[in-house]
Symmetry: C2
Subunit: 330 residues, 2 copies
């Protein structure tokens, strides 16, 4: 514990899947970057459940900071580290054009602007996404590849990346953007997202349930586990940001794998019985969407800065089993 | 003249250097894409001087459409082609953070949104800039290079590029973005812009006046003439935009040349006497700024689509002499 003063942290989107895991992780650690946890501000549009063991300085905000003035109260106590996770998801941003821009873009801008008006310079870790990219792609996508999103969600994330870099360059923020891979295996139930099957073809069979596979086994994509994503966030918060220069957003490392790779890992971990629960049911609509998604990134800068993800789907499945099924091997 | 109906056109930023030249060019042609000029809407924050020969449908708007509601009146007559040139320049956007975002970003967004609310789909040609790029650069910058601007102006342009693509993808606009090279030789007087010398070291000697050269002759940059820029705009308005796919912004072709190349052309065109009027006066501040600017682009997509610029600085100087000094060689 190198510093005597405790660290204050704000998490936006604290009731979401990654938000909850991040909050749990910080509480479990009890510190961030070697400094004991002090004030802990949890903000979401729905109430965040406060886990046992949260410190006295924990405060829950139920707020929509895309509304005028709402971001101000989140930063008036000047939290030193801000994890900005709040967003409406890809499907919702596509279905509701105005809401997507209002929450994902205007909300982020309002938060940055509230910080600027408050007049202090927190570390702000922003979760961007590989949805900022749109095909056609080279076989391996370099860090210098352009952002040509094919969704409103990806557009909003790319716009906030630009804003983050400019607010940082102007000295209003100390921003770090991290582009997350598709996070697998997500806990919970299958949903309507086009990417849902990437988790459900593993999660459901591991829990003895059938899952539908809507695409060809040759389809390749870019993955990391929820645990790796939380590790990215923590690492981004502790990074020496001087090493980033003006280019503040990093494509995170991940595992490039095919559906076939996923199924082979499922068989190794769960046996023939698990594999037999995966039912092929081709869905041209889903196939069409996900076949345009990126398949492999270089992620050279992030790796050089110490970010790392799983190397096999066996590991990713192992993380799910440890973190969600109670089979803690540690 | 393939269509019986006249074409209606809106130009924003019509009182600026490029706006005036575009208006003159359209009036001289009398048509756009083979259709006679009908309604001609000229919008700027200052009054646009209407040239002789403007049609009866010409209307001048003095408006700041970054103000709520102001964009609506510009599109309520549904101009079919919109040239969106209005912007505060790089130096001003850097000096006044709020004004730069308000005009360059919010103003553009308000215009796009007014079009969406009006419920029609015009061709919108947006002038972006190579300021969306920030070094370090490869020797030749490919079309797929990422936008990591090092100015608020470049950030705002890159954000509007993203918005343009998404509004187009959603069917609200038929957008084409064109990233202009540094436009040289600008008419008028030297100004405080860091790039000012690129024009003044040619313009001033050609007019018998001294000019200061603040940088080394080896410095390389990316240029086109004002006439080429107007040609880009016209070509972008007439382009079959289906050929663009989802990637709506194109880096325009240009001439990669050093200051030494400029001076050699000055000597060929204006003789020893003209060259002798260029006085070396190193300015480390200017040198530092312009040395980070891009030097050479591939511009492959734009060239394949028929955009073209000058091949030598002799040509660029010739354009200046013809268009600004009355020495029309044609």
């Amino acid at each position: 514990m190198g510093h005597s003063e405790k660290i204050s942290i704000l998490v936006t989107g604290s009731a979401g899947m990654l938000g909850r895991k991040l909050v749990e992780r910080i509480l479990r650690d009890g510190h961030l970057g070697g400094r004991l946890l002090g004030e802990f501000l949890l903000a979401d549009v729905v109430p965040t459940e406060v886990p046992a063991g949260a410190p006295a300085g924990t405060r829950v905000f139920v707020t929509d900071f895309s509304q005028a003035g709402a971001a101000t109260e989140l930063v008036e106590s000047r939290p030193e580290v801000i994890f900005h996770l709040a967003a409406v998801v890809s499907g919702e941003a596509e279905a509701d054009f105005d809401k997507g821009y209002r929450v994902n873009f205007d909300g982020s801008r309002a938060l940055f602007e509230a910080i600027r008006q408050e007049g202090y310079v927190p570390r702000l870790v922003f979760t961007s996404s590989i949805a900022v990219f749109g095909g056609p792609f080279p076989e391996v996508i370099p860090d210098s590849f352009f952002t040509t999103p094919l969704s409103s969600y990806g557009t909003q994330k790319a716009m906030v990346e630009l804003l983050l870099a400019d607010y940082t360059r102007r000295g209003f923020l100390d921003g770090v953007g991290i582009r997350l891979p598709t996070i697998t295996v997500r806990p919970g139930k299958p949903n309507k997202a086009a990417s849902s099957f990437y988790s459900s073809i593993l999660r459901e069979p591991l829990n003895g349930k059938e899952a539908l596979l809507p695409v060809d086994e040759s389809l390749r994509h870019w993955f990391a586990s929820p645990r790796a994503a939380i590790e990215f966030l923590i690492h981004a918060a502790n990074l020496d940001s001087n090493t980033l220069g003006a280019r503040r957003t990093l494509t995170m490392p991940g595992l490039s794998a095919t559906v076939g790779d996923q199924l082979a890992a499922l068989r190794r971990v769960g046996g023939k019985e698990a594999l037999a629960l995966v039912k092929r049911q081709p869905d041209p609509t889903i196939e069409k969407i996900v076949s345009t998604w990126p398949q492999r990134f270089e992620a050279a800068r992030a790796q050089a800065l110490g970010f790392s993800a799983e190397k096999t789907f066996d590991e990713i499945i192992g993380v799910y089993m440890e973190d969600e099924m109670g089979s803690r091997v540690k």
